[in-house]
């Protein structure tokens, strides 16, 4: 079905890395002007700044229920829905740019914060977003006062030098949709939110999507206000680009279920007319209605010397190879904490008693132990307002500062959306968020050096980031699962 909006094949918009552009490159300046223009429009106008932001998250108003508050998080619709959301926003902005006298070829830049091997400042907020005024001495619509301390001064994301918050390790995930509760959430997330796995984010959504939201903070820290910060769109353009990079890898396949491919969402195109789109229509970015491409689809971890001579600049169809064969047996829980845990601005820890597995996983442990993964789950994480991020560590000895044991680091817990997910009226019905970490390598390492205790694990949470006045974070349970 041909959708309105987009360009012909001869007018494919080229999205560029904002850190590869001059601070006030024309692309950035026109973005600022267009944002200012959108901000003058009434909230009832579907092409207005506030209306577009409300699509992501808003206190529902009955007349807007169809289009507002429909942001897809914690499910395998996360990537295709945001692709459409960002693409039609880009077209709305492009139309505004044209109206203001700018180029018809304007494209949304992306923020490649992980590109540290080539751009040492990549994990700092792009400069144009930190300036209070534009070059023509007007208030800069790209500047937002309400960000975390240090962000507008150009501090690195999260205030940490360890680069965990901009990690693209998610690209190593082999499958798009994850396993059942307790196991991997996959690259793109588990199937649908409206069942009993709500709140589990795919690997890409967890890091760097959630970590950047939490690190920028302010408006970006909550679903309902995130899209009001102009950096939101460049952040999501990069998340979208990372999906494209993942799809170019051999064997990486998007879901083929018709329930995923043909599920429809409602938005408005650049003229304000309602449209409906499906994930199936979001798979080729260079074709209408999307009609954009990225200036490069290089894995940010690629060192400059190893970069291929010609970057892939077009949307590459999935190579039809067989994905890894899924295990028939579900993930099996082997241990969990007995009581909830409340995290604050101080380090916290909990013990996880471990039992011997007794289910179908025992067969895999006997026949192919190397294929069995160990997953650490942090479940039903709730808060009443934005909370800070935490580093999660496995088996830091009692009395030892986790900062001194980076070798025991399991992952970042960035509770973006925890406040909304904790509300009864939210789709999560107040059950909160759920985080999963593949700790197989850590467990193998500890087994090898004799520090692994088969009857108990200690999980430590180390505060990170600069969220001002962070809410306490209540963790319902910490658990360990085995899955082949």
């Amino acid at each position: 079905m041909a959708l309105p909006g987009g360009s012909t094949s001869a007018q494919i918009a080229a999205r560029q890395d904002i850190w590869a552009l001059a601070k006030w490159d024309d692309t950035v300046l026109w973005y600022a002007r267009a944002v200012a223009d959108l901000q003058t429009r009434s909230i009832s106008d579907p092409t207005s700044w506030k209306y577009q932001a409300a699509i992501h998250g808003h206190i529902p108003e009955t007349e807007k229920l169809q289009y507002w508050n429909q942001c897809q998080h914690g499910s395998s619709f996360f990537l295709p829905w945001h692709r459409g959301y960002v693409a039609w926003f880009e077209q709305i902005v492009r139309a505004a740019v044209k109206k203001l006298g700018g180029p018809a070829s304007w494209a949304l830049p992306y923020w490649n914060y992980s590109n540290l091997s080539k751009e040492p400042n990549a994990n700092r907020l792009p400069e144009a977003f930190r300036e209070r005024e534009t070059p023509d001495h007007q208030p800069n619509p790209l500047f937002v006062e309400e960000r975390n301390p240090g962000v507008n001064n150009g501090d690195v994301m999260g205030g940490e030098e360890d680069e965990h918050d901009v990690s693209v390790a998610a690209l190593d995930q082999l499958v798009f949709e994850g396993a059942g509760p307790g196991g991997s959430t996959g690259f793109g997330g588990p199937p649908t939110p409206f069942h009993h796995e709500a709140g589990r984010s795919g690997a890409l959504e967890a890091v760097p999507h959630n970590t950047i939201h939490n690190d920028v903070g302010g408006l970006m820290a909550e679903f309902s206000t995130a899209a009001l910060d102009p950096i939101f769109w460049l952040h999501h353009a990069n998340i979208d680009r990372l999906w494209e990079i993942w799809r170019t890898e051999p064997g990486r396949l998007d879901p083929s279920r018709t329930e995923w491919l043909d599920f429809s969402f409602d938005l408005h195109e650049s003229e304000g007319n309602p449209i409906t789109f499906t994930p199936r229509e979001m798979l080729v970015t260079t074709a209408p209605p999307l009609s954009y491409e990225y200036d490069n689809l290089i894995d940010p971890r690629t060192k400059p010397a190893a970069a291929p001579p010609v970057a892939v600049a077009a949307s590459v169809p999935n190579v039809p190879q067989q994905p890894p064969k899924p295990s028939a047996a579900p993930p099996e829980m082997v241990g969990a904490s007995q009581a909830p845990l409340t995290l604050s601005t101080e380090p916290g820890a909990t013990e996880v008693p471990i039992s011997e597995p007794t289910g179908p996983i025992t067969q895999a442990l006997a026949s192919e132990p190397h294929a069995v993964h160990v997953y650490l789950n942090v479940e039903n994480v709730v808060s009443d307002r934005p909370a800070m991020s935490y580093g999660v560590y496995l088996n830091v000895p009692d009395g030892v500062d986790a900062h001194e044991r980076p070798d025991l680091f399991a992952g970042v817990l960035a509770p973006f959306g925890s406040a909304q997910a904790s509300r009864p009226e939210d789709p999560h019905a107040g059950a909160g968020l759920h985080f999963t970490y593949d700790v197989t390598r850590l467990v193998e390492q500890q087994r090898a050096d004799g520090t692994w205790n088969p009857s108990s694990a200690r999980v430590t949470f180390l505060p990170r980031g600069r969220t001002p006045d962070p809410a306490p974070l209540r963790v319902g349970r910490v658990s360990l699962y085995y899955h082949r």
Partner: protein, 233 residues
């Protein structure tokens, strides 16, 4: 779970097609299509009929509500140690059914209070109750209850805490389920519903429970419930 529900449906059908209720009174209208749910608001007070009523309510809960627990049961099993997953399921179901039985006691009490007017009330209870249930479908409280039916809960792995958490989870889901479907269920019970009406209401609650678009499904449920009203009038 589906097998248990299926058995309950078979028992219900068997009772309904055995020439009306086995416990006094006959179905309103006397036609197969209008045979009443046995023990529900039957004309003519009878202590025996009242004693059957809780059993009939339980049968209705098992037939209609248990299929809605498949999701939380899977979650309960997945979030339990493998060796105690069956116990966890039993604990969950025990609490779930217990809450619904308590609700059934309230419905029965209402039926007793109505007393001599029972026949008159039961004539209007079903259509009025279904209209009320249809109106409830579009309220934000219904939406919140439907979402709460899908809520997950942290479960302690072992010991009395594990039992407590599974019981609490089952009770919590049942309370949400009651808020979501209770009006329709009470209408069926007080109004001597036919098998057809029961099946219609079951289809509404099952579809909206498992739909990927719960809001749209709940809205569609309005139409179906209103159509059911025309069936019973």
């Amino acid at each position: 779970m589906l097998a248990l529900s299926g058995l309950a449906w078979l028992e219900t059908i068997a009772l309904m097609t055995a020439g009306g209720s086995p416990r006094g009174g006959s179905a309103r209208g006397g036609s197969a299509a209008r045979m009443a749910m046995p023990g529900m608001a039957m004309p003519g007070p009878s202590s025996t009929a009242r004693g059957w009523t809780l059993g009939a309510w339980a049968l209705m809960v098992v037939a209609m509500m248990l299929p809605l627990t498949i999701g939380p049961l899977r979650s309960t099993a997945a979030r339990s140690l493998w060796r105690r997953r069956r116990r966890a399921i039993v604990e969950y179901l025990a609490a779930f059914v217990a809450v619904w039985l308590l609700a059934g006691c309230v419905v029965i009490a209402a039926s007793v209070v109505v007393g001599p007017s029972r026949e008159h009330v039961s004539r209007w209870a079903l259509p009025a109750g279904l209209v009320l249930a249809a109106a409830w479908q579009v309220t934000p409280w219904k939406r919140r209850a439907l979402r709460a039916c899908h809520r997950t809960a942290p479960l302690a792995p072992s010991g009395w805490r594990a039992v407590r958490d599974c019981l609490r989870y089952g009770a919590d889901t049942a309370r949400s389920c009651l808020r979501s479907c209770g009006i329709a269920m009470a209408a069926l019970a007080l109004g001597a519903a036919s098998l057809t009406t029961m099946l219609v209401v079951t289809s509404v609650v099952v579809v909206e429970c498992y739909s990927l678009r719960p809001r749209a499904a709940a809205s569609a449920g309005v139409l179906v419930l209103l159509a059911a009203v025309t069936l019973v009038l």
